[in-house]
């Protein structure tokens, strides 16, 4: 059966992930913040095969939903409509877009934990956030091909991590499980992984280097001994 995948956000990342999803054989629905008419031409041209629609339609039709909207807008999402769904969070705090938002950069938790806390009844997994959209476009390679680039995944529920890994794999990347959602902070802007377009072994090393970064130090300090 063809699985339906919904993407919220029809911008740079949303359209590239849409292209990868179509190539992987999913049925793809994409929504921006407004009407479907607003994005119709864009989707028809950049992501042929995908259905331009509204966020509420995505909520209704898809059980797997990728978040590719500005992080600062996560509270516009509907927790009830997303209940029970696999929600893949690809969002990052970006000060140019989100403005000063200390809540989104609080070193005590990862931004995905905030999203998960807001979407209480969803299964929130973080993936696709650390690679630039042009690299995602350029580097996708079919399954089985050597030297595929790796995408880090964090999440708390094994079943949904596995499902996300399958999607990452089908999109053209090597999935790498990097721990529970709290560890998502290792993939955020300022980490050694952010912007990384590398193979699995290298990704593993970069993830481990977090404590050496300025951001890592800040996080350690804020979290005291609780940090792994």
């Amino acid at each position: 059966m063809v699985e339906t995948l919904g993407i919220l956000g029809a911008g740079k990342l949303g359209t590239v992930l849409g292209q990868l999803a179509i190539a992987a054989g999913y049925r793809v629905l994409i929504a921006g913040s407004g009407s479907s008419a607003k994005i119709e031409l864009t989707i028809e041209t950049l992501v042929p095969g995908a259905v331009p629609t509204t966020a509420s339609d995505v909520y209704q039709q898809a059980n797997i939903i990728i978040l590719a909207i500005p992080l600062g807008k996560y509270q516009n999402l509907s927790p009830s409509a997303l209940a029970g769904k696999l929600v893949i969070d690809a969002m990052n705090y970006w000060w140019e877009v989100d403005g000063p938002r200390p809540d989104l950069t609080d070193p005590r938790h990862s931004s995905s934990e905030l999203v998960a806390h807001f979407l209480k009844k969803s299964h929130v997994i973080k993936a696709f956030n650390h690679m630039g959209y042009h690299d995602l476009f350029d580097e996708a390679r079919p399954q089985g091909q050597a030297k595929r680039k790796a995408i880090a995944i964090v999440g708390d529920e094994h079943e949904y991590v596995k499902k996300t890994a399958e999607i990452v794999d089908r999109f053209g990347f090597e999935p790498f499980y990097a721990g529970p959602l709290a560890e998502g902070i290792r993939m955020e802007p300022g980490s050694a992984v952010f912007g990384a377009n590398v193979e699995k072994n290298e990704l593993k090393k970069l993830l481990a280097r977090f404590e050496e970064t300025k951001r890592g130090q800040m996080v350690l300090q804020a979290r005291g001994i609780n940090f792994k």
């Binding site: 740079k12 031409l41 028809e44 950049l46 630039g132 802007p189 952010f194």
Partner: protein, 347 residues
């Protein structure tokens, strides 16, 4: 395909601070005068456009491109004088019109406004704008600016600036319209907007394969069709270093272009490009570094791929030496540009 003889070739600068013959970093004032010297050279050698970007950062000297362009105007004859870009969101469309119409007068019709949203945030706090109005500011200001371009009395109202009620703005240009283009990054929405206003579009391609932009060109064309506006061949802006040998150019690009990209990336929490990624960019991405023949081949391929009508080389990124910059301009004008035209003419 665009007639290879008609393709417009430009040089882009943000006023990066170069090093002088003793290896010392120039002051910002010197860097500005250096750009004027370089524009004079480019004009003499037949480069079609010099485009100057607006930044408000220590490593770039140019915050007022139109003032520098005015200086260049009085010392050059043919070269078009463009911004790259004028950050319309944090500027006043009326002032932008006035400044560029003035430049157009000074230069006998050689001014070009390239408007964009800009990829830096400094102008927002600097001029007292709220970043959260990012979209609204640009949307309203491009609307007003496009009305001003008709050079007739303008009536406009919005949230981001005082309303105009049948106001005329001066000076009028001799052509009756300022040459205007829109620069876009990777946002599909911006592509559609450029088409909606019927402006020529310049793609800022600063990373990854140019192939990625093929659908964007299609989107621009389709959107123009839908809005009943004219779709122009697109322009491309990318970084590059040209030197006598491939090895020399690649090392200079690694040392300077990559470093300046990394500096900007760092503020956004991006890890710097690895050597492997950099070489990929040089081989088939968006850094055009090499000897003239290498760069010409790559440029011709990109221009063909996107059926472009204009290419702008950001030539001075980082702290390249003055000599390297001047030599690059010479190689670009006398070797690369004619060679690209030749390759394209061969089909």
């Amino acid at each position: 395909m665009v007639d290879p003889q008609k393709i417009v070739f430009g040089l882009d600068s943000f006023g990066d601070l170069p090093t002088d013959e003793n290896g010392n970093l120039m002051t910002q004032a010197q860097a500005i005068r250096q750009v004027v010297t370089e524009a004079e050279l480019a004009d003499r050698l037949g480069v079609n456009v010099i485009a100057l970007g607006e930044h408000h950062r220590p490593e770039y000297a140019i915050s007022s491109p139109d003032t520098v362009l005015a200086g260049i105007a009085t010392r050059t004859r043919h070269i078009k004088l463009a911004s790259g870009v004028t950050v319309l969101s944090s500027d006043d469309p009326v002032r932008v019109y006035e400044r560029f119409a003035t430049l157009d007068a000074l230069s006998n019709g050689r001014a070009q406004v390239v408007i964009g949203r800009g990829s830096f945030t400094e102008p927002f706090p600097l001029y007292g704008y709220d970043l959260s109005d990012y979209d609204l500011l640009f949307e309203e200001k491009i609307e007003l600016f496009s009305k001003l371009l008709d050079e007739k009395p303008v009536t406009w109202s919005g949230k981001t600036r005082a309303a105009l009620d049948g106001i005329e703005v001066f000076p009028k240009t001799e052509k009756g319209r300022l040459d205007t283009q829109v620069a876009v990054g990777g946002s599909p929405e911006s592509v559609v907007r450029a088409a909606r206003y019927g402006f020529p579009m310049i793609l800022a391609i600063i990373g990854g394969s140019p192939r990625r932009f093929v659908p964007y060109v299609k989107l621009y064309q389709k959107a123009s069709q839908k809005f009943g506006t004219k779709a122009y061949p697109v322009g491309i802006h990318s970084h590059g270093v040209i030197a006598d040998s491939d090895a020399e150019a690649v090392e200079l690009a690694w040392k300077h272009t990559r470093k300046s990209l990394a500096r900007v990336g760092k503020e956004r929490g991006w890890v710097p490009m690895s050597r492997e990624q950099f070489e990929q960019e040089v081989k088939q991405g968006s850094i055009y570094a090499g000897a003239p023949e290498t760069v010409a081949q790559r440029l011709a391929a990109t221009i063909k791929l996107l059926n472009a009508g204009r290419f702008e080389l950001a030539y001075g990124a980082g702290e390249l030496s003055v000599q390297a910059r001047l030599h690059m301009i010479e190689l670009y004008a006398t070797k690369v540009i004619p060679r690209v035209r030749e390759i394209l003419a061969e089909g």
